[in-house]
């Protein structure tokens, strides 16, 4: 039993080496499909980061009265900061607000002229409140609505709620679409791997028939091809890791530029999850390869 088992491994290695071009082609197809799967993962991670970035940009503005004393504003700021739902509170004075307004509209002379016409600063001091997460947004709005303070000019948060609901709806649709697309893509990938192994074994059809005619049992014929499948998968996943690492390092600076001031580190993500990411890919690809081998060999050894 053990002799035959080790013989099967030897035959398998012999087969891979002596059919080197076929082996290379099979491995290349595997590498291409696994690379595509990993690219999907990159898109998913980057997409998720983009969505989180957008959500983080949502903050609540509390407009204060123009003549509100600074110490009173500071006290209100402290009060709001102490709320459980609040991540940070920033105070923008009316002069600061005016400066930012001028900068935003520096290319729009009509607006700047209108401002000059007014003669005074129409903008009010503002408290910019960032929630800890989008999940606590509703709770935060409720808390802000019940705060009693004379210096609060206006509190109308309905726009934020509508905007947030829209963003959530869009991100949910995008997530669902991404899930469906990923599923289709992964299904195609699995089919490609399955069929490439079947084609590889089809080229061994004559050999399988001869083995059967000489008196080899089904498992004696099948086992070397099962081991070959594992060898192909091992090399395939190894090659993908070797190619993907420099690719990620190449991509990282561009991502950092795009997501400036946000921590998007794909290299770290993949490094931190290397076992689960490539481990799962190895297991799934090996399973598909082995299944394809068994079905194909069984089909051709029915003599």
């Amino acid at each position: 039993m053990f002799i035959s088992f080790f013989r099967a491994i030897k035959f398998s290695i012999q087969d891979v080496v002596r059919n080197i071009w076929l082996s290379l082609v099979t491995i290349i197809i595997l590498v291409l499909t696994l690379f595509t799967v990993n690219m999907l993962l990159v898109v998913k991670v980057v997409g998720q980061t983009a969505v989180d970035t957008i959500k983080e940009k949502i903050d609540v503005n509390l407009f204060l009265k123009t003549d509100a004393p600074e110490d009173h504003i500071e006290a209100l700021k402290m009060k709001i900061s102490s709320l459980a739902e609040v991540k940070s509170v920033e105070y923008i004075s009316k002069d600061q607000a005016m400066e930012e307004f001028r900068l935003r509209h520096q290319d729009n002379p009509e607006i700047l002229d209108a401002l000059k016409e007014l003669g005074k600063n129409p903008l009010t001091p503002t408290l910019v409140i960032k929630p800890k997460s989008m999940d606590v947004f509703d709770s935060l709005i409720n808390q802000l609505n019940i705060i009693e303070d004379d210096i609060i000019e206006s509190r109308n948060f309905s726009n934020y709620k509508t905007m947030l609901e829209k963003i959530n709806a869009i991100t949910e649709k995008v997530s669902n679409a991404a899930l469906v697309l990923s599923s289709i893509f992964i299904f195609i990938t699995l089919l490609v791997i399955y069929n490439s192994v079947r084609v590889a074994i089809y080229t061994h059809k004559k050999e399988i028939t001869i083995m059967r005619l000489v008196g080899a049992s089904n498992w004696f014929i099948q086992l070397p091809y099962v081991f070959s499948s594992i060898i192909y998968t091992l090399f395939g996943v190894g090659a993908v890791m070797l190619i993907f690492w420099p690719f990620l390092n190449l991509l990282q600076p561009y991502l950092e530029t795009f997501f400036v001031s946000y921590n998007v580190n794909l290299v770290q993500y993949f490094y931190g999850n290397v076992l689960s990411i490539f481990g799962i890919q190895f297991l799934v690809a090996a399973a598909i390869n082995i299944l394809a081998s068994l079905i194909a060999v069984r089909r051709y050894s029915k003599i």
Binding site: I3, Q14, N19, E207, I210, M211, L213, V214, F220
Partner: protein, 226 residues
């Protein structure tokens, strides 16, 4: 050794490849089975090695009724019958040594035994110096000799040769037939399926003639009659 009792094999409703074949081959015989193309010779071979199942009758080989042999038993049957084919059926990606050794490996033969027997058998067929070559590197006649060597490693009681000289020239043909005769001298029952008139007539052994799926002649010292 081999008994066919009222064997019928049909591929379609109207076409019987084997039509009520009754045959008895004794141990140690050298029998030529002749007939033109399409008369049922190959079907006879296929039913003998379990490649095709018969529709009626019985096939008994060495006392074993193989009529309804199961899928799992077929490899066991084939290890007991040495078979050589017209197209040699060698594994192209294995060396000659490995091709012959394969027949022992399928039975779980130990490496030491293989290392002893295979060179010996290769010597019998005259190819001991070419053991580490590949099939594509040798001639057709030599490939057929390797096939014979592979068929012999188990010391089978029956050697079935299905048109072994079909792809060979007359010189190689004679060499192969001589080899088969030598094997037969050692006690192996040899079934030679052929449509080579010259070979059959020179052998002066038992000749069974098949025509239209039926045995039309069975002569101890026969000639090619069709």
């Amino acid at each position: 050794m081999i008994q066919y009792q009222n064997v019928i094999k049909s591929y379609t409703k109207d076409y019987k490849a084997l039509n009520n074949i009754n045959l008895h081959i004794k141990p140690g015989e050298f029998v030529s089975i002749v007939g033109q193309s399409g008369t049922g010779k190959t079907t006879l071979v296929k039913t003998l090695i379990g490649e095709e199942k018969i529709d009626d009758g019985k096939i008994i080989i060495g006392g074993w009724d193989v009529t309804n042999i199961g899928q799992r038993e077929i490899p066991v049957l084939r290890r007991q019958i040495g078979v050589i084919f017209q197209d040699f059926k060698l594994l192209q990606k294995k060396t000659l040594f490995e091709n012959v050794a394969f027949a022992m490996q399928v039975c779980g033969g130990k490496n030491a035994k293989i290392q002893k027997i295979v060179p010996h058998v290769m010597k019998i067929v005259g190819l001991e110096s070419k053991m580490h070559r590949y099939p594509m590197e040798i001639s057709g006649g030599e490939q057929q000799r390797v096939a014979i060597a592979r068929a012999l490693v188990h010391r089978p009681k029956i050697l079935l040769a299905d048109e072994p000289t079909g792809n060979l020239d007359s010189l190689n043909t004679n060499e192969i037939i001589d080899l088969l005769l030598r094997i037969n001298k050692f006690g192996t029952t040899v079934l030679l399926v052929t449509h080579n008139r010259e070979v059959v007539n020179n052998l002066k052994r038992r000749v069974i003639t098949i025509d239209g799926g039926q045995i039309v002649s069975d002569q101890e010292n026969g000639k090619y009659m069709l």
